[in-house]
Symmetry: C2
Subunit: 213 residues, 2 copies
């Protein structure tokens, strides 16, 4: 009686649950980084970490859940990048310019992974994931705090933050999809600087970065 069939090998004891979650998330992130959204498939992801697809379903969930985890990580990384970009003792205007620069720098350094945050659209019926709103709020609060000294009114400030955030998103989005280079040869960073500068200072301003020499 040769027992040829062998199905279900049981736990390996190589990773606990949290380690496995991190393993899956990082592998998925690397797949997206190298080949974009289309390169992230369930079977492929499973094979790169040496597990069967079903193990991912058990520990993480379906592909949407995997992307959510990658996106959560991306937003956290973006937040950290922006946080380390604001120099404490600088004019609010220059802090805002530094933030815009850091944003577009982050996107330029990791375009595919950043794109996943916006390419992956969630089902239209389910409510917005709370962790996303929270992660986004943390980042935009960073911008709001920077703009507070020059836009005192909270309502006006909130509108300005949303408008500037969306504008930067648009620049980054068109840039990664190569739809910006068709319009102008300038880098998205230069355009972001122009946008923030004119938004905060108005159109009657020349080249210099700071008012005081």
């Amino acid at each position: 009686m040769a027992r040829v069939e062998k199905r279900g090998t049981g736990p390996r004891g190589e990773h606990n649950r949290d380690e496995f979650l991190a393993l899956v998330t990082k592998a998925a992130e690397n797949l997206v980084r190298r080949e974009g959204l289309r390169g992230l498939g369930m079977r492929r992801l499973a094979s790169t970490i040496g597990y069967a697809p079903n193990s991912i379903y058990n520990a993480v969930g379906d592909l949407d859940a995997v992307m959510m985890r990658v996106n959560a990580r991306t937003l956290a990384r973006l937040h950290a990048a922006l946080e380390s970009a604001v120099t404490p003792d600088a004019a609010p205007r220059d802090k805002a310019l530094a933030l815009a620069d850091a944003y577009l720098g982050f996107v330029a350094a990791d375009p595919q992974v950043w794109s996943l945050v916006f390419e992956h659209q969630i089902a239209p019926d389910s409510p917005f994931p709370d962790w996303y709103a929270e992660a986004l709020g943390q980042t935009t609060d960073l911008v709001a705090r920077v703009l507070a000294p020059i836009i005192p009114d909270p309502d006006e400030r909130r509108q300005a933050v949303a408008a500037l955030w969306a504008a930067l998103h648009g620049l980054a989005s068109l840039s990664t999809s190569r739809k910006l280079a068709v319009l102008t040869p300038e880098s998205p960073r230069d355009l972001a600087r122009l946008l923030v500068r004119r938004f905060l200072d108005g159109p009657d301003r020349g080249r210099p970065e700071t008012a005081g020499a």
Copy 2:
């Protein structure tokens, strides 16, 4: 000998090639309008027009080609909408505001179809489709002509057009994916007005829409 098998019915003579192209494009557009990018599948598209999938492959090409045709139509419709929004005898500033309003109005009226233009990213190796660059150039030229009186320098104007275009795109994009409502309750149109106004007039301006009463 009952000849039950019947494969390949030959030409129907119901549509010539151009009519068939239009039929496929409009059917695909309606599918996207109702159910978004994910609702557009080859087999489904074929069944809604009463043909076999292979007929679409023959006349149009694969799904990418179908989306391209839908997107070309969308850009043309957007161009027409923007063109009819500029009143000939108005201040450039107000023309720009009207353009922004018309843009976001178009997106709000047809969000899924508009989103397809940016959700569908082309293969990274193939060069940019020329029809897309041309359609985009026509539309941005519209903006450039409007801004010409207040931004005389061509280089500066081109940068301003690209920056404003990207900013509007960002507002529209975050709006359709419900990522803007998380930040602020204002409508994207209001934020667009704020953005354009501050970009053109500077921050030192209150509510009134026009300078002269």
